[in-house]
């Protein structure tokens, strides 16, 4: 478990070292904020925003626990066979809806398939779709939001109205239109990779305006700050101000949104599968397992509880991680 952690640390610090000269300026917002901590470590080498954040993060139990869970889930997603050797689709109808036992830790579902094996094998599709869709929405949304908030005026009006077009589309309706168009030319069932990409892109296209609105309002507030004005007065370019001064101060609210949205997107993938637009059998995903189990909730709760439990755990881990990262990154929190 420690190897990936150290690896990550070293990459981060080399990355910071390589950037060299910029490091001094990175700290400028903090100096403007008058944070006492910066001055309290005079002998340490000057670190960048990320370097600081890393040092800070390592000491937070929230981050360590969240990180460990995420690593564990990623390991499951990457090598499901190590954790459950069975075939997730093997069905034995005579075992249908049997409760947890020594043979099947999580019991069997309505078609007599082992829930434990399915939960393990379903992690990959769910985590990949959830994480990538979140990254995509946050990336598009933050960029557009930053530009809109920072430049204001006509750019802002244009981008904000443009985003509102997407915000006005009901998600399911929009997804049906987009995915039906993509799927139209395909014979039979589209492949797993293709469907996953489609689902991720669809979520990205339809959900980015929310993080855009959050980022935009944060950017509008941030650009009024003295340190931004100072940077402008020093002749810094727009790009530099946006990424070095505005972004770090705006990232917190988007981060919070992203960690919560992650769980939502895993659920959306299930909605799309349910409509016949998302992943299809034989691919397994938590969302599909949850939506399939809803009609058995009274008689066979374990069908719902185990995949839902893993979903909750994943979301919780990312929320903890996101919370910690936000605290570490946000200069205002120091």
């Amino acid at each position: 478990m420690t190897d990936p952690g150290e690896g990550r640390q070293s990459t981060l610090s080399t990355g910071a070292d390589a950037e060299g000269v910029d490091e001094v300026r990175r700290d400028s917002p903090q100096q403007h904020e008058g944070s006492p901590e910066v001055g309290s470590k005079p002998r340490e080498k000057q670190r960048g925003l990320w370097g600081d954040a890393w040092l800070d993060l390592r000491r937070r139990p929230l981050f360590v626990i969240g990180g460990l869970i995420v690593l564990f889930l990623l390991a499951i997603a990457a090598f499901p066979g190590l954790f459950a050797s069975g075939d997730p689709n093997a069905q034995d109808l005579s075992l249908a809806r049997e409760g947890p036992s020594a043979e099947a830790w999580f019991g069997y579902d309505a078609l007599g398939r082992d829930i434990y094996t399915r939960v393990i094998h379903g992690a990959r599709a769910s985590i990949v779709v959830g994480v990538l869709a979140t990254l995509l929405t946050v990336l598009i949304g933050s960029l557009v939001g930053l530009v809109a908030g920072y430049f204001g005026n006509k750019t802002d009006s244009f981008l904000a109205r443009f985003a509102e077009i997407f915000l006005g589309l009901p998600f399911v309706l929009g997804a049906i239109v987009i995915l039906s168009v993509f799927n139209a030319g395909i014979e039979g069932a589209p492949g797993m990779l293709r469907v996953m990409t489609q689902v991720i892109v669809t979520i990205g296209v339809l959900a980015w305006p929310i993080s855009m609105r959050i980022m935009r309002s944060a950017a509008i507030a941030a650009k009024q700050q003295d340190y931004v004005k100072a940077a402008k007065a020093l002749g810094a370019s727009h790009g530099r101000i946006i990424f070095k001064h505005v972004l770090p101060n705006c990232i917190a609210p988007v981060m919070v949104y992203a960690t919560i949205a992650l769980g939502q997107y895993i659920g959306l993938e299930a909605t799309l599968s349910y409509l016949g637009l998302g992943l299809q059998n034989p691919v397994v995903s938590w969302g599909m397992m949850i939506s399939n189990s809803q009609q058995y909730i009274i008689s066979t709760p374990h069908m719902l509880l185990f995949p839902a439990g893993f979903l909750v755990l994943t979301v919780l881990a990312f929320v903890m991680l996101g919370d910690a990262v936000r605290d570490a990154l946000d200069p205002k929190q120091r």
Binding site: N89, A90, Q91, L93, S94, A96, A110, L111, G112, R113, I176, S180, E187, G188, A189, S273, Y274, L275, G276, L277, Q280, N281, P282, V283, N292, Q295, Y296, I298, S299
Partner: protein, 551 residues
Amino acid sequence: MRKRRMVAPVAASLSAALLAAGCGGGGGGVTEATGTLEDPITVQWGEPQSELVPTNSNDTFGSQVFNPMFTGLVEYDPNTFEARNAMAESIERADDKKTYTVELKEGWKFHDGEEVTSDNFVRAWNYAAYAPNGQQQANMFKRIQGYDEVHPADPDGDGPKKPPEPSAEKMSGLKVVDDHTFEITLKQPFTVFPEKLGYQTFVPLPESFFEDKEGFAENPIGNGPYEFESRSPSQSLTLTRYEDYKGADAGNADAVKLVVYEKAQTAYQDLKSDNLDVINTIPTSAQADGRWKEELGDRAISKDRMGLTTLSLPLYEEKFQNPDLRKAISLAIDRQQIVETVFNGSATAADGWTAPSMPGRTDGTCGQWCEYDPAKAKEYLEKAGGFDGQMTLSYNADGAHKQWMTAVAGSIRDTLGIDVGTNGVPTFSTFQDKMDNQEMSGPYRYGWVADYPTPRTFLNPLYTTSGSANYTGYSNEEFDNMIGRADRAATVDEANELYGKAEKQLAEDMPSAPLFTQTVKGARSDRLAEGTLNTRTNVAITSLKVAEPTQ
């Protein structure tokens, strides 16, 4: 106990008194019902799509009204779906096998007092078939001689070209002999034609219909056991018993009110709280785990549906052209287990290509090929040379098919050891398009419901080369010949025997694997002693019988 409004307070005070006296009394107050116009029996219904004219309506909500309001030459038994003479005294076939002489029963009257004569039938049928009248059910008359003259075929289907003007107004195959006798001549012999006559389109229409068609649609007049009383559009329609009805199946309840429900869930709740007397759908949420049967007890109605679900195979795809592979697929499906586990027993595993309760069917035509046999399935897969790549099973995702299709896919996969996936096509119309254009890349689900009570209704449209719903691309000369011979057979029994033989040919070729027949599900309230659904899921109004008061 005539007025129901009075019942509740009386019952309440009564039961309060009984409680005070320390006597349970069984809470019988609610079962009081009269079925009179003030307190009609209520039935779940939906707003029909088309006007209330039998020849221009083809939705089930319309049928719900027409079935009790009209009686044709032949009627179907609500329980067995068997055809029996109703208005017809006799239907005799001449030696040329295509001319029928119909004798009508005398003394029957429409609800407005007009006597039902041969003229009412012939005029109504000619009206329905005549193309400019644009009746939705016109094609039901296509077997009658002279149909092509009154209803010329559109040269390009539904395309922009207009069909040629009809050269006649009346079908030459219909001849009135006297007031109670008429002759029907068909283009070609068609043995099961009399069975088809029970369909709602073949009813007589009164003089008043031809005088004022719009008035008729608002206030339809029939000759059946129930007459039209009133209707509030989008809300309800009330029928009352026609006292002078001459037929056998005259009904019991004096008044029946069809109430429009948008949601099955609402109707289900209303039934449970005794605000509604009969429902003919059970919401999916209540079907899970068979919960509805537990909740309703002996009020639940469950019977075989006159339909069949198959796993149809795309014979136009190269991969599925080997009959051994198709047999392997059929052998690999554990129908019995799926019926028990996924449907909680509310379905019947198929043993042939017609509905299990179809009158005149030959049982077990599918034989060994519909039995689950893993060893033989593998043997046939090997004989067929295996299967490469993923086999994708398609279904329409807007129906409740996902669960059982996944089970079927799993059964094939585990038995044959090949990669099997499922593909939910978002809507039925897209699914239908894919079938029409022969774009299915793998096996797909297909459901078919009988139109009339003979095995032919399952075989001819689905599997003959020119069948109207032959989407699999199956074409076998021998099969076509057998159906043709059955159509011209001397007697119905002989025809049925030939249909059975034709089915055995299907077992050799396996263009589709029969899966199961789901049950028709509904329920009735405690106010009714009897009440059932017909095999086409409509409520059989004449079967409703009010319970005897228990107090």
